[in-house]
Symmetry: C2
């Protein structure tokens, strides 16, 4: 907690380096957002100069502070700082190529594009909400490994947009409730949004609002370094999460444009840039930073390198070193495979008839017993999502050693927090809600996919099979909308065996989030013959082959595989040979070699079966093939009546199959 | 504002009728949520008995109070009240068939299923946020037609879930900012959620939070009728929106189960129901309400009928009567068609090269000049979405006569408010954001579709064509995910003419919301030959036919139609006859007769072109057909470089076409 004294060059000059690099990069790109970086330059400079501990030479150092630019359009702030700190991959050419093809300096900070970017931001409200997950993970990791190995802060710069978005409400309530004192949020209180002054659209007393959520709240002149330093010290000391309202001038330094929404998202132009150089007394050429200013910034990196070295020494001496490393490493895939395989063998023998959500809980008992760093949760549907396994205990502000998070009725905040937990490292994390409410957290699921964090979404009540709750709760288009998302693997398992296989894949995924669609209603065990191989890993497979050439192939997912098998029996009684394919994951099937896909799809006519819309089924079906599913919203009634009402029955499948065969 | 004195039967007895009907209906269904209706029965009874003005004999009476059960799982509260008030379509049989196929008493209140249901609720937070739109529409309508014709309240019952959801933050900030004093929200402060006590997951001081948003806040014992009446009187008088924190006991009346999360979402069971009958001194058979209790409730309806009769007399005498009726009637489709047709004629002649978002603004100038009750807005992207036309002026708390709403950075709150404005009646409403942020408001878009309100979503920056802002802002899967939604018509117009045609369809849609995907980048006018007919209404049409049999059909949407035409030129140079189809709306094309669809698709091989994923294109394409588009997330770079990088070019289309032809 030691606070360094500032170095020789004053912090306003250090901040002006950010301002100059920002306006020059935006000008070179002829596109971008100078307002926020120039307005926040003083806050960011004091924060980094006196407090932030990072080591640019070891950007993945686990005990580094996390810095999140939630107002992601102000990406040049991040790039300028990382350039000034001396990150090896952020040279001046990167700044010159701001927003250009192939550069690391994308329009918004993209995780993985450059070192020192802790998460992808841009969609407003995501950064602050992801940071809540990071700050929670820090405390949970700390509870396991102590102050010696885990002792860092999460700092967030957020704008009015971040605080107006609904997700911020979910995030700050969660952070206040969990007492995340290591989270410090700077609000860029510049009173400007794109449409104009904030009083066009909001009358919120943000400070009172954060106090209502249990936060420590301070306000400060965002251009007064000593005052900024004081409030940061207070924030770090307080046991509550902290909001610092920083009264700033957007585009600070541009003499004729600062303070106006015109400086938010457009280049300043050559004239104003020249005037800004004069006003800031910054006569240097574009992208040139004087040696002494660079040295002042690099001293921050040196301080960080020393801290990292001390930490490494502590770790080497720690009896927990091996466990610590293991918590950050890839999961024990071999161990999990052995456990899941043994469990599958039992299932194929015992043949339980359980809902997929219950099968998920049973599989999670195996996963959680095998992976010690598994952390689960639910958005207030624990008993319905079956997400809490027997040995789990809740995380609370008084005890972070738990491994189950009661996220409250906050799907969006949950998903963002999951992203933050995964990005922080140390945990495999999953969270549950009803599948229909995937829509409530879709922006954060998209970020899971874009960032590439292997979080797992447990989404139960996955069709009209949920029954009486009716169309608001019944996914119809939801599965298709999720399959549409790049880099997301969606599973819809047909029985307890497939559910176990899916969980093995979820828990060992490396850079792809996963999402399980799970039935509310009971399903029999269909995989009654054990295989060591994980058949779900192939996305789709022949569950029942015909003796002799196929007349038709029935392809189904989840709760409809059972019905497809019944249809095959009915067809067999009529002398028709119907193969049945179970297709638990479209994405994994699409990734199989062509020869395998041809084998599974077959050359006979096909009928697809899913209690959802047909969109996306072109992976399996020709346009001329049949489909038994939904074409509109559901209804409120008992599940079995709904299946009959919407004609998703063995009879309907058999009829469609016969129609296909007769066409041929 | 006159307050009626209570009738003979005491309000606790009237409330017990709600309790009894609820527990009996849930028991009969063996499914449902007794906790909230039983807990809120006293609040609802006092509210209706002393304040609410509705006329069950004229359920669409424009000046009725709006009552929204935001905690939609407590639907039996609505059904019980509407039964007791004597709505003709809510007899005891409907209650007996709670949650059964074909009944009006769906698991959650579904708009249109029964009279007196003002909106569909169930997805939490939607009711309160939709109500904000209703209360805003009331004030806007009042500003146009005066207290004589428009003078009603919007009452909301909301639970902890509604207030934990992020959308509630957007809604309450907007309501506070706009000073919606006719909005009164009752918070069912029962300190219970599904997972258990609220202190498992929240520490929010809700009262302080609403005060921070500029609300008038009171607290009351939710089981004390006189106290409840007093706070409602205060709330109605205050000029701010009001929150009334009602301390209630969930499941109140069930002696052994009340106060526990176990009473939230399951039947009480026969024993507890018997015990509750004893405790409430309610010896009547299930679904039987004694005459004097029914009479007490029906007196409310009589009071409402009188108020409605007085209102009708006022209206008959009003010089504004005709305008008032017109504001609530279907739009002037004929007038709009004439204006749009004349405008299209000019466009085909002038051939402007403008972005689709700019073309949208130009079309909106025509729409807004023709439809006097058009109300626009944007989630803080007015200048980017081009949603504010020249004559529009902002709505503010000081002046509700405006017709443009600065929604702030609140996509979700905007969409819900739009639903509320449309449900209230009196306005055609649209609102804008970036297409990528459709995800932020998707749950409310889904409700637009499920309810069937013809709101229009203006979603600009519709592809990688937005350029440097990068993958977080670039829709790739978004269009497919929206086309997946039942009862939503998605448009992606190719030029200013199609944009005008699409707007004509949006503004005259009756029971289907519409969504425009609009380019950021400039597009030439492609429809250079004027047609009176609205070609966009057919969903897809042949923009350029071949002389002689087609060798290939290129089918494109939006900004890619221009590129497809270039490809056709390139192919022509090689002697290949390529027709070009523009497909601005998949949903409208799917609704065309088969013969038309065959004509457009043709029998030659096809290449689909859209800067998005292929999913959903099976409407036009065989599996063997070609597709030029995206397969993953975008990148940050200038738009033209991105098109080249992702190979969405005339060359790529031509190459794909040749490949298709050579296969055949």
């Amino acid at each position: 907690m030691t606070v360094q004294t500032p170095v020789q060059v004053d912090e306003t000059t250090m901040a002006n380096a950010i301002r100059a690099l920002t306006m020059d990069a935006v000008q070179a790109a002829n596109s971008g957002h100078p307002g926020a970086p120039m307005g926040l330059a003083d806050v960011a400079t004091v924060l980094f100069n006196r407090f932030v501990k990072v080591d640019p030479a070891d950007h993945k150092w686990p005990d580094r502070d996390r810095f999140v630019m939630s107002a992601g359009h102000g990406s040049m702030l991040v790039y300028a700082i990382n350039h000034l700190l001396g990150y090896a991959d952020m040279d001046a050419d990167q700044l010159r190529n701001f927003r250009q093809m192939g550069s690391r300096t994308a329009g918004h900070p993209e995780y993985g594009h450059a070192m020192g970017i802790e998460t992808t931001t841009g969609p407003l409200g995501q950064g602050i909400s992801t940071a809540v997950g990071m700050a929670l993970a820090e405390r949970m990791h700390n509870a396991r490994f102590g102050d010696e190995l885990v002792d860092h802060f999460t700092y967030v710069l957020a704008g009015d947009g971040c605080l107006m978005e609904g997700i911020s409400h979910e995030a700050i309530d969660l952070a206040g409730h969990l007492g995340l004192g290591r989270l410090v949020v700077f609000w860029d209180d510049n009173r400007i949004t794109i449409d104009g002054p904030t009083d066009l659209s909001t009358s919120m007393d943000q400070r009172a609002r954060f106090e209502a959520a249990g936060w420590h709240v301070q306000a400060v002149d965002g251009h007064n370094p000593e005052a900024i330093a004081r409030v940061i010290e207070n924030a770090r000391k307080d046991l509550r999460p902290s909001l610092i309202a920083c009264r700033t001038t957007i585009g600070k330094g541009a003499p004729n444009m600062q303070g106006s929404h015109k400086v938010h998202g457009s280049p300043l132009g050559a004239d104003e840039i020249a005037a800004t150089r004069d006003a800031l007394n910054w006569p240097h050429d574009p992208f040139v930073v004087p040696t002494e200013v660079k040295a002042a910034w690099e001293a921050i990196a040196t301080r960080g390198a020393n801290a990292r070295a001390n930490w490494s020494a502590r770790k080497e001496a720690s009896p927990k070193a091996a466990d610590f490393d293991r918590s950050l490493a890839a999961p024990d895939a071999q161990g999990l495979n052995a456990a899941i395989t043994a469990y599958k063998r039992r299932l194929s023998k015992d043949q339980p008839k359980v809902a997929a959500r219950k099968a998920s809980e049973m599989a999670l008992e195996v996963v959680n017993a095998t992976l010690p760093n598994s952390v689960g949760g639910s958005a207030d549907l624990t008993g319905s999502n079956n997400t809490r396994t027997s040995a789990m205990k809740p995380v609370s502000r008084n005890d972070y050693s738990g491994d189950y998070i009661h996220y409250g009725i906050r799907e969006h905040g949950m998903a963002a927090a999951m992203n933050g937990i995964a990005l922080h490292g140390g945990f495999f994390t999953y969270g549950g809600t009803f599948l229909a409410f995937a829509d409530y957290c879709r922006p954060s699921i998209r970020l899971s996919a874009l960032i590439g964090v292997p979080v797992a979404y447990v989404m139960t009540h996955d069709s009209i099979g949920l029954g009486e709750d009716g169309p608001t709760h019944q996914p119809v288009e939801t599965i298709a909308s999720l399959r549409a998302m790049p880099n997301l693997t969606v599973f819809r398992p047909a029985d307890a065996v497939e559910t176990a296989e899916a969980w093995e894949l979820c828990a060992t995924s490396e850079a792809t989030p996963t999402l399980l669609c799970l039935s509310r209603q009971n399903l029999p065990t269909l995989r009654t013959t054990h295989t060591d191989a994980n058949l779900t890993a192939r996305g789709a497979y022949v569950l029942r082959e015909t003796a002799g050439a196929r007349d038709v192939t029935l392809i189904a997912t989840g709760s409809e595989v059972e019905i497809a098998l019944q249809a095959a029996d009915m067809l067999a009684a009529d002398g028709i040979r119907a193969a049945v394919v179970s297709a638990p994951s479209f994405e994994l099937f699409a990734a199989q070699p062509a020869a395998y896909r041809v084998l599974v799809r077959g050359t006979a006519p096909r009928v697809g079966v899913e209690a959802a819309i047909r969109q996306g089924w072109e992976l399996f079906l020709e346009r001329s093939d049949g489909f038994v599913g939904m074409t509109g919203f559901g209804a409120s009634a008992p599940a079995d009546e709904l299946y009959r009402h919407f004609n998703i029955t063995a009879e309907a499948i058999a009829a469609s199959a016969k129609k296909q065969i007769n066409k041929g």
